[in-house]
């Protein structure tokens, strides 16, 4: 410490960086233009496949193959959407969307609310075995699903729960290790002074959780809810195993059957339904983008 202080005056007297003679504002403008050009073009290439998918979903059947690279169709053909929505086997996408919305909403509520309760326990209550269970929880983050899914399947099958949503929803009652960990990090950034003040006022741990911590957790909870919703919406392996009858299909399973190369040939309809399935995710992403990024970047405390 003393050494650093002794060096400080030397640092102050160091020569200033010499700037080139070009006026400051010109250089800044040139750099800004270059920056936006470079990043903008890269962005366009990143988004091209998605834009192309959306564009193709509005192309009439023959144009899909003749005008492939175009994002904007020559002839606007929205008929692909009703064609696709009709679904297959007499079941329309109304059913699939209803199933997916039900599962994604309920699944998200379950895992996020459980995760915040558990996270509070880990972050703010001192109890015997806390460190061990915390470590165990972190380890579960790394477990391959395949090790758990086979015995789970055997048991759920014995219980007669194939073709129900129980096997998909029940494992969520304990929250998800990823969200628990995320919310713990959030809670740790909330000053303990607030807890202590509430404790002096006679609040119990439950009271502190409900009145002090929970209100501050909103950004973390929104972030977790968004992630949870879109992971659930995209979930494939587990529904594939448990939901075998088409009336229970989620959008993801339906799309897979619908786009089976050996069956369907109406690519316009396939593109339309694919593009549509991305819509809920995008709407949520765009409306909550700020929370998503801030939820990850800041630690929850607004300065």
């Amino acid at each position: 410490m003393a050494g650093i202080e002794a060096q400080a005056p030397a640092g102050l007297s160091a020569p200033r960086v010499v700037r080139p003679a070009v006026p400051w504002c010109q250089r800044a403008v040139a750099r800004t233009v270059f920056y936006h050009l470079a990043v903008g073009v890269t962005c366009f290439f990143m988004l091209y496949p998605i834009l192309w998918l959306v564009g193709s979903s509005f192309k009439p059947p023959d144009e899909i193959w003749t005008n492939q690279t175009a994002i904007i169709p020559n002839e606007f053909y929205p008929q692909n959407y009703p064609n696709g929505w009709a679904g297959f086997g007499g079941i329309s996408f109304t059913t699939f969307y209803r199933n997916s919305l039900f599962y994604a909403t309920l699944g998200t509520i379950l895992s996020v609310s459980a995760s915040s309760v558990v996270a509070y326990g880990f972050a703010r209550v001192r109890f015997r075995g806390r460190r061990i269970w915390f470590a165990v929880m972190l380890v579960t983050l790394m477990l391959p699903t395949q090790v758990q899914i086979i015995p789970q399947y055997i048991v759920f099958k014995q219980l007669g729960w194939l073709n129900t949503f129980y096997p998909l929803l029940l494992p969520r009652i304990g929250g998800s290790a990823f969200f628990i960990f995320m919310i713990i990090q959030f809670i740790r950034s909330i000053p303990v002074d607030l807890d202590e003040a509430a404790m002096i006022d006679g609040a119990s741990k439950f009271g502190i959780f409900l009145r002090v911590i929970l209100p501050q957790l909103t950004p973390a909870i929104i972030t977790a809810a968004i992630f949870s919703f879109y992971w659930t919406w995209d979930e494939f392996l587990v529904p594939l195993i448990y939901l075998n009858s088409p009336e229970l299909y989620l959008v993801s399973l339906a799309l897979r059957t619908f786009s089976d190369p050996s069956g369907q040939t109406d690519w316009g309809a396939i593109f339309a339904m694919s593009a549509l399935s991305l819509l809920p995710v995008f709407v949520i992403f765009i409306s909550f983008q700020r929370y998503l990024v801030e939820g990850i970047s800041t630690t929850g405390l607004k300065g």
């Binding site: 960086v17 055997i154 897979r256 593109f271 983008q289």
Partner: protein, 310 residues
């Protein structure tokens, strides 16, 4: 919760300030119950199953010792092909993803106008990454008369059958993975924002150029985040399933038969749950060893600020 009642008496005696076992276990109770029911017990059962020839249709199986493992390692040639495909996928897709993620994060680590829009745009492919729609789209893009070959044709190049050739099929999936670098990018971006400005300022005063600043400040300060991202990406790389299931179905010649896909096929298409459990356990062990190795090595390359004492 049983544990809470057991330790309650002890707590009274020790009267540790602020310690509250009952309340603690009440709060983590939901996780603890779910952990035992849906993780711990299934994994233990999975270990037992791996020593049997359990068939789910007959709901019966006999103890067959190490036969599953012997079959896996010495007789099942598809097994080794799936190991091969998975390792190749992980070795190429994880570094590609991390490099893209860091490069773009550094590009977006400014306070210019419009950065928020770019950030969203770069993240967009990842938010839909695991979806079937994207996999279906990818299959079409790299199809025989798909977008890529159509474009190559316009340039006068005859494109190969990307998905049908053993040399190219896996690359379509690696590119798909590299395209989705959004999550590690956001985490890198958060890490970059946390690097104290004064470090760069003083480096500039000392005359360090941008490469030196990157190598001496950015990279060392980011190592904990690189470490975190590396572990998460390695694990998810080993478990890749959906993309191969939809885009290539493991074809051609099993060059994209990823481990998770092969486990799925054995367990749920051929009903050989004993054999599939053995495979899953080997995967678990490999991931455990690999993670332990990365953790062990971390003390040599991960730099924690706390070490310096502030």
């Amino acid at each position: 919760m049983a544990a809470a009642t057991l330790t309650k008496g002890k707590r009274r005696r020790k009267s540790n300030f602020g310690q509250d076992n009952l309340v603690g276990y009440l709060f983590i109770g939901p996780w603890l119950i779910a952990f035992f029911l849906f993780t711990f017990i299934p994994i233990s059962v999975s270990l037992l199953l791996s020593f049997t020839d359990y068939n789910v249709l007959a709901n019966s199986g006999d103890f067959i010792g190490l036969d599953n493992f012997q079959r896996m390692f010495f007789e099942d040639r598809r097994y080794w092909r799936s190991v091969n495909a998975t390792v190749k996928y992980v070795v190429f897709s994880v570094p590609l993803r991390l490099v893209f993620a860091l490069a773009v994060a550094m590009l977006l680590n400014t306070y210019r106008r419009g950065v928020g829009v770019y950030r969203a745009a770069f993240y967009a492919p990842s938010i839909i990454g695991g979806s079937i729609a994207v996999a279906v789209m990818w299959r079409e893009i790299f199809g025989n008369d798909g977008l890529v070959n159509f474009t190559l044709n316009l340039l006068g190049i005859e494109g190969p059958n990307w998905l049908g050739r053993p040399e190219t099929a896996i690359w379509t999936l690696i590119i798909l993975a590299a395209w989705q670098f959004g999550s590690p990018m956001l985490i890198f971006l958060a890490g970059l924002k946390n690097i104290p400005k004064h470090l760069y300022e003083s480096a500039e005063i000392d005359g360090a150029n941008s490469l030196q600043r990157f190598l001496r400040i950015t990279l060392p300060m980011l190592t904990p985040i690189i470490f975190f991202n590396l572990i998460m990406q390695l694990i998810s790389g080993f478990m890749v399933f959906t993309q191969a299931f939809i885009v290539t179905q493991g074809r051609p010649l099993d060059t994209t038969l990823f481990y998770a896909l092969y486990v799925y096929r054995r367990a749920f298409e051929q009903n050989e749950m004993g054999y599939a459990s053995a495979m899953a356990w080997v995967m678990l062990m490999v991931i455990a060893v690999l993670t332990a190795f990365v953790f062990r090595s971390s003390s040599y390359w991960v730099h924690y600020e706390a070490d310096e004492g502030t």
